[in-house]
């Protein structure tokens, strides 16, 4: 912030030039972005609120009377809601835990020593993040998890065990594995970069003072990583709350509701059962959940983010 005040002091010298134009082109230039995002938020959201309070099924057109909060109570008492909400929490929670814990450990491992092919290892580790979700999901489904010809079935047989039909018997666990495979690399990417900016001299000084590698990691590296970890948590939460394609292409939410999350449940009500009213009520509930998460996270991280930006 110091720089901006000094620059302002500079800018005071050519008064006439500066005042004649550009005193603040701000609103003119920012407004397209703001207006578009505002529209993008308000119009559809307003429609969702409206739809959520009427009876509206695309299969039965013309019966659109006001029903108040009926859609909400239907959605909340739907047999899919509880498993959907639980699965969403389990999915977000476990993928976050996996990506932060292993992300920190793996990037620390890469920073800890110089070895042959470190650049290649880096590239290999972050690659899954760039793979399309539909590709990642189908590769896991057909080439890794498949109970007959998948790699895991082969390994199981190698040890004389009965191959497991992963997606049928452990659907949520399988989805968690697939999604973690996509998002752990994101954590590694961010944390690895953050670690490189850690002051090496500080580390060296600590080492000379007799601190062991674990003490250095605990007292120096981890505090340095607080902000990047917060960023990873925030961004992954945004995306993990809406995991869809991975479920759509592998289990279709099943068996039963075993791997249905809220996003998939709402999609199912909207574009499979065409119940717009109920899907909208569900959508609003998803928005509320995301906003609770957002408020908590922005409180935690948002200030941090603009302070240094």
């Amino acid at each position: 912030m110091n720089t901006s005040t000094t620059v302002k002091a500079h800018m005071d010298i050519p008064q006439p030039v500066r005042k004649s134009r550009l005193t603040n082109p701000g609103w003119f230039l920012v407004s397209p972005s703001v207006a578009l995002l505002l529209l993008w938020m308000i119009v559809p959201l307003g429609m969702t609120i409206y739809f959520s309070m009427i009876r509206y099924n695309l299969l039965y057109p013309g019966e659109n009377e006001f029903v108040g909060l009926e859609n909400f109570s239907y959605f909340l008492s739907d047999s899919g809601f509880l498993p959907g909400a639980t699965n969403t929490l389990l999915l977000v929670g476990s993928v976050l835990l996996i990506s932060v814990v292993f992300g920190v450990l793996i990037s620390a491992l890469l920073e800890a020593s110089e070895f042959l092919g470190r650049g290649i290892v880096r590239v290999m580790l972050i690659s899954p993040f760039f793979i399309m979700p539909t590709v990642g999901a189908l590769i896991w489904k057909n080439l890794i998890f498949h109970p007959v010809s998948g790699i895991l079935a082969y390994i199981w047989k190698l040890f004389g065990a009965q191959p497991v039909d992963w997606l049928a018997h452990y659907p949520l666990l399988s989805i968690i594995i697939i999604v973690s495979w996509q998002w752990l690399p994101f954590a590694i990417l961010i944390l690895m970069t953050a670690m490189q900016s850690l002051d090496q001299e500080q580390k060296e000084a600590a080492r000379l003072d007799g601190a062991g590698p674990i003490a250095i990691f605990w007292h120096l590296t981890l505090p340095h990583l607080a902000r990047p970890i917060a960023v990873v948590v925030m961004i992954e939460t945004i995306f993990l709350l809406s995991v869809f394609a991975e479920i759509f292409t592998t289990t279709n939410g099943g068996p039963g509701y075993a791997s249905t999350n809220l996003a998939y449940l709402i999609y199912n009500q909207a574009l499979v059962q065409f119940d717009v009213g109920m899907a909208s009520a569900g959508g609003l509930i998803a928005v509320v959940i995301a906003n609770i998460a957002a408020i908590v996270l922005v409180r935690m991280i948002g200030k941090n983010l603009t302070d240094k930006a």
Partner: protein
């Protein structure tokens, strides 16, 4: 054992461990590429075939099951148009927020970020019905508009953090020399921020290319991009794993290469400027 020897041993062990983890994580991608060179029979064989006669037929007949090139072209058109549109809107906004900071700037930036918190399912129905009533279902335009909007906050943030690093004195000097706003932007700012803008473009392309919620819900055939083509392989109508692998490899290769090239710069955009 001397200190040096023990250090060498330690780095050997850590290196081996790192390699093992990397191979484990990269394996599905490696296996996808390998499978794309198999025949369908080899692809489904048990135990999995590690040694086989490679064939190019999956790539040569990539259009056999569905018109690969039309899907790929949709992906290209949608990603590039959305990226161009997004940058056009975002760069002026980032410019004014980076160089003419007001009390509202931080609030505006955070508000933009908060629009990312809106889960897509929350607006699925309205967007679907709006698209339907404007005749935009299964059109590229619908996806271009939506991708522009969902990536706008990230792109504004990313460009903003790059502009923030440029010393204001340089623009000040150009202004004193009588440069207009347009000249200042095109002649001074853009050349300095070229690298940053290039990685912003890459990030936006990657995000558009891989997006799979709206593309699956709003397109069916005409405007469907590669994400939707690949999802169509999930139906259990037969075993097309070698073909699936070939299509997937082609669909992912450009993005993977983009990602490798620009990994360091992407971090900045993906972390909203918090990690550089």
């Amino acid at each position: 054992m001397t200190l040096q020897q023990s250090r060498r041993l330690q780095s050997l062990l850590l290196g081996t461990l790192a390699w093992a983890i990397a191979i484990l994580i990269f394996f599905p991608i490696f296996w996808m590429v390998v499978t794309s060179f198999k025949t369908e029979i080899d692809a489904f064989a048990t135990p999995p075939q590690f040694i086989f006669t490679p064939t190019l037929s999956n790539y040569l007949h990539i259009n056999e099951r569905s018109d690969y090139f039309s899907f790929a072209w949709n992906s290209v058109v949608i990603s590039f148009s959305a990226t161009a549109l997004c940058l056009l809107i975002a760069v002026p906004a980032a410019y004014s927020m980076a160089f003419y900071e007001t009390q509202r700037t931080k609030g505006t930036l955070l508000w933009m970020l908060s629009t990312k918190m809106l889960p897509p399912v929350g607006v699925l129905m309205p967007i679907y019905l709006l698209a339907k009533s404007f005749g935009l279902l299964d059109t590229r335009i619908a996806l271009i508009v939506i991708y522009t909007l969902i990536n706008l906050p990230i792109v504004v943030w990313m460009v903003y953090t790059y502009f923030k690093d440029i010393p204001k004195d340089i623009l000040e000097a150009a202004r004193l020399d009588g440069a207009t706003l347009w000249q200042e932007m095109v002649r001074v700012l853009l050349p300095i921020a070229k690298g940053g803008l290039a990685s912003t473009v890459l990030l936006s392309l990657i995000l558009c290319w891989n997006e799979a919620f709206w593309s699956l819900n709003l397109t069916s055939s005409k405007a469907a991009p590669l994400t939707a083509l690949i999802a169509s392989y999930s139906s259990p109508e037969g075993l097309f794993w070698a073909k699936l692998s070939a299509v997937s490899t082609l669909a992912c290769a450009p993005i993977l290469i983009f990602g490798w090239i620009s990994q360091k710069q992407l971090v900045r955009g993906l972390s909203f400027g918090a990690v550089k």
